[in-house]
């Protein structure tokens, strides 16, 4: 039984990854899950310098999911290189570093610093964070801006890059095409959908930032649809995410066209989710007599 997939020349032992920002640098969940079992660990977004993020409350629970406006707090790429990457090197899993920035130069700075880190197998470029005022999503909601920044990052990146797309757009296919045209090696989606919660007794926003990104099972049907549309619009591989809670969900994304899948907010509900997804996919393949996981990709059309 083959469970390995190939994304832009990188081989993953299985398609199961962690969604950026929901798994720290892997350290926090290593207490629960053997990281060696995962296809890849995708780290929390990192910028060229430390970012303090947004005021609290930063998270709020909603029906079937949560809102977050962490605001990309991160210790900066230097700390990641000194502390987190060495920790991850000890595991037999691929490492994808998620990169954030406020300007094109910010992104390029991080990408340059990571260029000769051989423990970094791919870069995921977050141009879709709805929770920072400048940069971030501005690049992710306009196909021209997405094209430009992708091109610039591609000029610098030594590792293959994955542009991470925002669902807060009219046409996800158009965004996927812009990323592909600019040379992105793969795309991942969806980032969170912008949402809001109001406490009707306190008469305040549940999130200090007013709006936050919606994630969790609530968004899964939107995510599956967008993965389907994006994967039909481009030839580069797609990594799908949005509400994955179990192997069935992950397989649904693959049938829709995803080559890789990532578990996000459901890690908070059950820290063993990633592992359960890995094992559940294997069980499904056995039961359905599927010998190569690649046969699942885009199989429902």
């Amino acid at each position: 039984m083959n469970t390995s997939v190939n994304i832009s020349g990188v081989t993953f032992k299985n398609p199961v990854m962690t969604a950026s920002g929901t798994f720290g640098s892997g350290m926090e969940y290593a207490e629960f899950v053997d990281l060696n079992r995962l296809g890849a660990v995708v780290t929390k977004g990192v910028a060229s310098v430390p970012w303090p993020g947004n005021p609290t409350p930063r998270v709020a629970e909603v029906y079937g999911g949560m809102l977050n406006a962490i605001g990309l707090q991160n210790p900066g790429v230097d700390v990641m290189i000194e502390r987190d990457l060495p920790f991850l090197k000890d595991f037999d899993t691929k490492v994808i570093v998620n990169v954030c920035g406020k300007s094109t130069q910010d992104y390029v700075d991080v990408v340059d610093k990571l260029a000769d880190q051989d423990g970094v197998h791919m870069l995921e470029i977050n141009v879709s964070c709805p929770n920072v005022k400048e940069g971030g999503i501005a690049f992710g909601q306009d196909p021209k801006a997405l094209f430009e920044i992708t091109k610039e990052i591609k000029n610098h990146a030594k590792q293959p890059i994955i542009m991470k797309l925002s669902p807060n757009v009219t046409s996800i296919a158009e965004m996927a095409k812009a990323a592909e045209a600019a040379g992105s090696d793969a795309i991942s989606l969806i980032n969170t959908i912008t949402g809001m919660k109001i406490d009707i007794y306190k008469k305040t926003f549940a999130i200090a930032n007013k709006t936050g990104g919606l994630s969790g099972p609530a968004i899964k049907p939107v995510a599956v649809r967008m993965v389907y549309e994006a994967s039909h619009a481009v030839k580069i591989p797609v990594i799908g995410m949005g509400g994955i809670a179990n192997a069935e969900d992950a397989i649904e994304f693959m049938l829709a066209g995803a080559t890789g899948v990532a578990v996000g907010a459901m890690n908070f509900h059950d820290p063993y989710t990633t592992l359960n997804v890995v094992e559940g996919i294997e069980r499904y393949m056995r039961e359905q007599g599927i010998s190569d996981i690649n046969d699942l990709i885009g199989a429902v059309d």
Partner: protein, 263 residues
């Protein structure tokens, strides 16, 4: 310390201590790792709510492997917990957080200050200090809304207890700081848990009497294990882990040296 786990625990008993305040005992191996001021995450079984509810450990018995938690019915999750009966199973995540630094109490005059639903975790602390600590003296001030002074009978076993009530029905009329002043309570070390305005008052009172204060904070949490960065508090200096002036309440806390916080 053992690894954190998400496991199923069995309800041993549940009773009501006061209007809307529940006392729940769970059988679980996690009890072996518990310390005062730490907490667990409790998952509602209602499948539309997915995040664990952080609830402090009020007491624990490592031989019997039981945990005791005392909580207020505050919303849908805690309302569900209040319906649990002996034999029911509930998923919990733990043990979480750092807990109170009981070693700092060694040879010192200790003052424990609790307010509202911040009272329960201090009971486990008082017991630990009395039974296994080397504190020179233990005073306690607990603040309540009214005469429903839940857990106060149990605190009395571990030292001198002062009570403050908002309506003046028991002890000092006013807040915990009013009670401290009224009773001129001296201390070298203060341990405290309660609402933020009270904690600010505690930190100021500690300055006044030149005591160290260790306070337990609350914030909205998602993961509970330090991964999501949802639950931060502001620190005076750059934090070792985050490299910015933020510490994670779920893992670096919930108990902090008040001097290190931007309150």
């Amino acid at each position: 310390m053992s690894k954190k786990k998400k496991i199923s625990a069995e309800v041993i008993s549940q009773s009501s201590l006061a209007e809307g305040i529940m006392d729940l005992r769970l059988k679980t191996d996690l009890a072996e790792d518990a310390g005062p001021g730490q907490f667990i995450g409790i998952y509602p079984s209602n499948r539309s709510t997915l995040l664990p509810r952080p609830i402090s450990i009020c007491g624990y018995d490592k031989t019997e492997k039981t945990l005791r938690i005392v909580y207020r019915i505050a919303g849908s999750g805690t309302a569900e917990f209040a319906l649990y009966r002996p034999g029911d199973c509930v998923d919990i995540l733990g043990i979480l957080g750092n807990g109170f630094p009981v070693d700092k109490a060694s040879g010192k005059k200790v003052l424990i200050i609790g307010g509202g639903i911040g009272v329960p975790p201090l009971l486990g602390l008082a017991k630990e200090l009395k039974e296994n600590g080397c504190a020179a003296e233990i005073s306690m001030v607990m603040g309540y809304r009214n005469s429903e002074t839940f857990l106060s009978d149990e605190f009395e076993k571990y030292g001198k207890l002062y009570i403050a009530t908002e309506d003046g029905s028991v002890g000092t009329k006013g807040n915990v700081i009013d009670a401290c002043r009224e009773n001129k309570i001296e201390a070298d070390v203060i341990f405290s848990c309660g609402p933020m305005p009270m904690l600010r008052g505690v930190a100021a009172y500690a300055k006044e009497i030149s005591a160290k204060a260790y306070i337990s904070l609350e914030e909205r949490m998602a993961c509970g294990v330090g991964a999501c960065l949802g639950c931060i508090c502001k620190t005076k200096n750059v934090d070792d882990h985050s490299h910015v002036n933020n510490a994670r309440i779920c893992t670096d806390g919930p108990v902090f040296d008040a001097d290190e916080l931007e309150l």
